[in-house]
Amino acid sequence: MKKFFVLLMTLIMSISLVACSSGSSATDSTPTDEVVDVEDITTLEAEITWWAFPTFTTVDGVSGKYEESLVAAFNEKYPNIKVNVEMIDFTNGPEKIVTAIQGNTAPDVLFDAPGRIIDYGRSGYLVSLNDLVEETGLLEDIANPNILEASSDGETYWMYPTSAAPFVMAVNKTALEKEGLFDLVPSEGDRTWTTDEFIELSKKMQEAGYYGVEIFAGGQGGDQGTRAFITNLTNANLMNADLSEYTLSEAAGVEALTLINDGVKAGWLAANTGGVANDALEHFTTPTNSTFWAVALWSPNLHSARQEELDASNIEAIAVTLPSKDGSPKLEYLVNGYAIFDNKDATKIAAAKEFVKFLSDDEVIGKQNVLATNCFPVRTSFGDLYEGDENMSYYASLTKYYGAYYNTVNGFGSMRPFWWGSLQAMIIDDMNPEEAAVYFDENANLTLDE
C-alpha cells in the first residue's frame, strides 16, 4: 500500500509540473466598448501596468530607470494615473505575457514589436487602436505606409507605432583595410552590392584567415537576419506577393540554400547551428580566438548597443546593405510600438490610451523616446532627429529598400522554428537544400491556417 502511495505521488508530482494552465480562452473575450466620460481627461483616476522589453537605451546601466522617468514625466500632466512599470526580457518575456494572458493578469500597456502584438490582437486580447490612429493624425503623418501596414492585421490597428529602423549587415572595416580589401566593399551611396561581389570578397578574406558571415541556426533569436541574408543572395521570395503562401522551395529559394550550403562546406561562410544572432554579434564585435569580417544582422540600435565592445576590440564597423543578385536588396525592418490589452475596464483603457499618446506623440517625450530606441520616427512631423549624423543619415536613406512585412501573417511565430530547423537540418546534412526548402514550405504553410 505504501509503495502504491509513493508511486501515486510520483505520478501526481510529475503531472503537476506540466499541468498548470488555467481554463480561460480567447473566445470568452469581448472587447470593452464602454466610454469613459470625464470633463478633463487629465483628472482621470486609474492604476495601470506597463510591461516593456528593454528597447530603450538604459540610464546609468540600470534596466527600467529610463521607463520610470517617463512615468514621472507623465504624472506631471496626469497626476491621478498611477503607472506600474515592469521590465521583461526577450528570452522569457513572450512566455510571461502568454502566461499572464491565460491567468487574466495581462498588463494594460505593452511596448513590443508587431510580430507578437498582431497575434495577440487577432486572438482578441487587445483593444483596437483605430480611434487613436485617427485621432492623433498618424495616418496623414506617417513616414512610410509599410509601417502602418505592419501595425494592423488588415482591418484593425493593434499597435501604435513610434519608431522603426532597417536591418542590414556590417563589415569589419579595420580588418578589411588591414588586408587591403576594403575597396571591394561598397562604401558610397546606398552601399549596395551584388552576390558575386560578396562571394569574391568572402573568399579573399577566407584566404587571409578570417571567418565569413556566420549562418546561425540554433534558435529564433535574430532569425530575421538569416532569412533576409539568404533570400537576397538570389533575389528569392520567402512568401508570395500577397503573403498567402511560403515559396522558399521555388527555384530561387533552393538556389539560395544551395549557395549557403556550398559556402559553409567551402568555408567562406561560417556555420553555427547551435548559436543565435547574439552569438554571431559577439563573435563579430569581440573576437578572441577567431575574427569574423562580417555579420548578417545589424541595425542602428545594435550598432549603438555594441559600440563599446567594438571600441574595446579596436574594430571600426560599417553598415552595408545585404548582397543581392541584382544589387537591389529587400530589407527587413524593426518597428517599435505600443499595444493596449483589453482588461475589461474602460477607465484603465482610457488611461492607457492617454499614456500611449503621451509616450509617442508628446512634443518632447515623443522625440526623446525615438532617440532612446536609436531608431527613426514614424512621423514625418518629427523631422530629422539625427541631423548631422552621417551614420544615421545612411540608415535613414534605406527606407526605399524595405521589403514586404510578413511578420504579421497568421502563424508567424510558429513558422520560425521551421526556418532555423530547416537551416540546421541542411547544414548538419540531415537534408539537402531542396529537401530543406520543401520541408520549410510544407510546414510553414500549415502555420498560415492557425
Binding site: I15, A19, C20, Y125, Q220, T273, N289
Partner: protein, 319 residues
C-alpha cells in the same frame, strides 16, 4: 464577560457550550478526536497541496482532452493523444529522453557510489572539501552553470575547441551544440556534473551509518574488499540506492532547463526531450496548451512505469 468565550453562530453569539461544532466534537471517542485533531493540523498543508498540486493535475488531465489554444477551447476527446503518436518530433523527443535517462542515470549512480566509497573513510576535512566540490554545481544556479558551459562549447571563441586545436587533436572547429554527433553528449556531460552532488552526499551518509562490527567481522573471517562491499555495504545502502535511482531517473526525465538554455532542442530536434517539447508546444505560438498537457500526461505515465520497474527490481533487496 470576555468576548473570546463566545462564537458567532447564525447571527447570534453563543458560548462554547452551545456551539454545535463543539458539541459534535465532544460526542466523539478519544481516538476519533485524535484523528480529527491530526487532520486539522494537516489542513494548512492540504490546502496548499490541493491548490497547487491536485488542482493543476486535474486541470492538466482535463484540458489534455481539448483543442486548447489562445484562440479556441474545443473538446476533442483523446484526439491529442492519438495525434501524439503520429508526431515524428514527439517520437524523436521521446527517444532522446529515454536515451538521456538510460545513459546518464547509471553513470550518475555508479560515479556517485564510486566517489562515496573512496571518500567516506577519509578524514573529515577531505570529506568536506570533496562534498563541497561535488555539491557546488547543485547549489549554483542552472543559468550560471549553463552560461559557463556554453562559453566553453562556443565553436569559435570557446576554450574547448581552442585547446583541442592547439593540441592538434582537431583541425577544424567542432560545433559541440550544433552537431548531432556531439550535442546530446554535451548535454549529458553537463547533466552528470550537476546531478552527482546530492547522491554523493546521501551515499557518504549511508556508508557512514553502516554497522562497522559486521565489516570488521567479515574481514577477520577473510573477506576481501569486494566481498565486503558486495555482501555487507551494498545491501546496507540499498534503500539509499533505491531513492537515488528513482529521484535521478525522475529528474533526468524532466530535464528541461539545460536543453532550453543550450540547444533549444536542436540541431533538428536531436536534443529535444519531452519536457522541452511540452514547453515549446505550450509557450510558443500557436500555444497548444491541450496538446502540451497530453504530452505531460504521457511523460508522467512513462515516469510512473519506470519507477514501478525500479521499485520491483530493488524491492527484494530493500525489504
Amino acid at each position: 464577560m470576555s468576548p473570546r468565550l463566545f462564537l458567532k453562530f447564525k447571527g447570534a453569539y453563543m458560548s462554547k457550550k452551545d456551539n454545535p461544532i463543539m458539541s459534535w466534537y465532544k460526542k466523539l471517542s478519544i481516538s476519533q478526536r485524535q484523528t480529527v485533531t491530526a487532520y486539522l493540523f494537516l489542513l494548512p498543508a492540504l490546502i496548499f497541496f490541493f491548490t497547487f498540486v491536485v488542482t493543476p493535475i486535474l486541470s492538466g488531465l482535463f484540458t489534455s482532452l481539448f483543442d486548447y489554444t489562445t484562440k479556441k477551447f474545443e473538446f476533442i476527446g483523446f484526439g491529442n493523444y492519438v495525434k501524439l503518436f503520429s508526431n515524428t518530433i514527439f517520437l524523436k523527443s521521446l527517444k532522446n529522453t529515454v536515451k538521456l535517462v538510460v545513459i546518464s542515470v547509471p553513470i550518475i549512480v555508479l560515479f556517485s557510489l564510486f566517489a562515496s566509497v573512496v571518500l567516506y573513510q577519509k578524514n573529515a576535512v577531505v570529506r568536506s572539501v570533496f562534498r563541497g566540490i561535488f555539491y557546488l554545481p547543485v547549489v549554483t544556479g542552472t543559468v550560471a552553470v549553463v552560461v559557463v558551459w556554453k562559453w566553453m562549447f562556443d565553436p569559435y571563441n570557446g576554450v574547448l575547441n581552442y585547446v583541442l586545436m592547439k593540441a592538434n587533436l582537431i583541425s577544424e572547429q567542432i560545433q559541440w551544440l550544433g552537431d548531432k554527433r556531439f550535442a546530446m553528449w554535451a548535454i549529458i556531460i553537463i547533466l552528470i556534473t550537476t546531478s552527482v552532488g546530492q547522491p554523493i552526499i546521501l551515499y557518504i551518509a549511508a556508508l557512514g551509518n553502516l554497522d562497522t562490527s559486521q565489516i570488521e567481522a567479515a574481514k577477520i573471517d577473510g573477506a576481501n574488499e569486494w566481498q565486503v562491499f558486495r555482501h555487507i555495504k551494498w545491501p546496507g545502502i540499498m534503500p539509499t540506492t533505491l531513492y537515488v535511482v528513482v529521484i535521478t531517473t525522475i529528474n533526468t526525465f524532466q530535464c528541461f532547463s539545460l536543453i532550453q538554455l543550450l540547444t533549444s532542442g536542436g540541431p533538428n530536434y536531436n536534443t529535444s526531450t519531452i519536457m522541452y517539447l511540452v514547453y515549446e508546444t505550450a509557450f510558443k505560438s500557436p500555444y497548444r496548451f491541450g496538446y502540451a498537457n497530453a504530452m505531460g500526461v504521457v511523460l508522467a505515465i512513462i515516469i510512473g512505469l519506470f519507477s514501478l520497474i525500479q521499485f520491483k527490481l530493488f524491492q527484494s533487496d530493500t525489504e
